[in-house]
Amino acid sequence: MSEEQVKTLLQRADEIAGNPVFSTVSAVRIRRRLQRRRVFRTAVPLAAAAAVTIAIALLTRSGQVETPQQQPQPQQQIASLQEQVNQLKAQTDATLKLVQEVLERDRQQQRLDALEAELASIPDPVRRMEQQVDRSAFLLVYQADRLYKELNQTESAVAAYKEVIQLFPTNQWADVARERLSQIEQRRINKSEDKGETRCEPRSV
């Protein structure tokens, strides 16, 4: 088994497997992703720390409430602790709200990205229609040209040119058809003039 054989076999197997699927990466997307990561890295530990602090405060307080006889505390101290707990609760609520807002914004951004990508993938229908119209007009002019130049069917060609002008009056191919019609008309006039001249000429016997 030579090295070349192995290489060929592997390359063939790789070709058969086909190309991998992946979407395009951009600097903007990566920046957004990094920002999201940064927010998570700060907000989640913050929320966790706040929750732990509250839990500790609540436990301490319940311990104090359960054993009032062992360690009698002044009323003011309880009130200040209560105040602290309330403050911590407010802080946690604010942090959680912030995290939820960030998550919601992130979800919205993702939805927006997906919609943008979907929108980008849809071809412009107006442009497609214009292209189709252009193509149809071109085909009609092309066929009329063939009728006139190759098959020598002037009347059919004239009808086809007129059809182009009637169907697509503003299209560039309608201008071409008008030009062709005027050329044909000019040729007819020239021909009739030539014929008239020959008729009037005296025959030389």
């Binding site: 054989q5 076999l9 063939r12 197997a13 497997a17 991998p20 395009t24 903007v28 990094l34």
Partner: protein, 190 residues
């Protein structure tokens, strides 16, 4: 000469990116994403979908590009990141697969067998890919880089941080293992 021009172009792109020009990064992505995706696909055993790995690679590149000094080619640098990402990706996947295998041993064992309707050729090539996939990491990497990515010896050595001798030894052993697994096939081919 062309390699030198390419390296200077790559350095220019890195400099532009350092100066805050995001379009330089987009150009790098445009130039290298297909190769990166192909390499990841091969190193991960042709799963087809390599979206996550490609994203991770370019995320790392985005963060690390500021430190890129052009000591090696940008392509080699990106390939190094890809190889490392694929290593950790495979490691994570193996852990998940091990769990699945415990839950459902038949599902893991019968991943590629019993495809009577598949044409023989396709099945044969699937077998080849499986054989590459089951190679140990160090053999698989050199095989993919050498035979499928078509990298030169020096590039592979730089990328994997090994000597040329070590690379040759790994390649020989990888070939021997492939022959062991696909013996009949090689006889047929030869």
């Amino acid at each position: 000469m062309s390699a030198m021009v390419r390296t200077s172009e790559e350095l220019d792109l890195a400099t532009q990116f350092r100066q805050g020009d995001d379009s330089a990064f987009d150009r790098i992505v445009e130039q290298h994403s297909a190769e990166i995706a192909a390499l990841a696909n091969r190193l991960l055993g042709w799963p087809g979908d390599v979206e996550d790995v490609v994203q991770e690679v370019f995320l790392s590149a985005f963060l690390g590009l500021k430190k890129f000094r052009g000591e090696c080619r940008l392509r080699t640098w990106l390939f190094t990141i890809t190889v490392n990402r694929c290593r950790s990706f495979r490691f994570r996947r193996r852990r998940v697969l091990a769990r699945v295998a415990i839950d459902d041993p038949e599902a893991a064992a019968g991943s590629g067998s019993g495809c009577d309707q598949v044409p023989m050729d396709e099945e044969t090539f699937a077998m080849v890919r499986r054989a590459v996939q089951t190679l140990p990491r160090k053999y698989r990497e050199v095989t993919v880089l050498r035979y499928l990515q078509g990298l030169q010896t020096q590039e592979i050595c730089d990328l994997l941080g090994i000597t040329a001798n070590a690379m040759q030894v790994r390649l020989n052993r990888a070939r021997a293992r492939l022959k062991e697994q696909l013996g009949d096939l090689f006889e047929e081919k030869s």
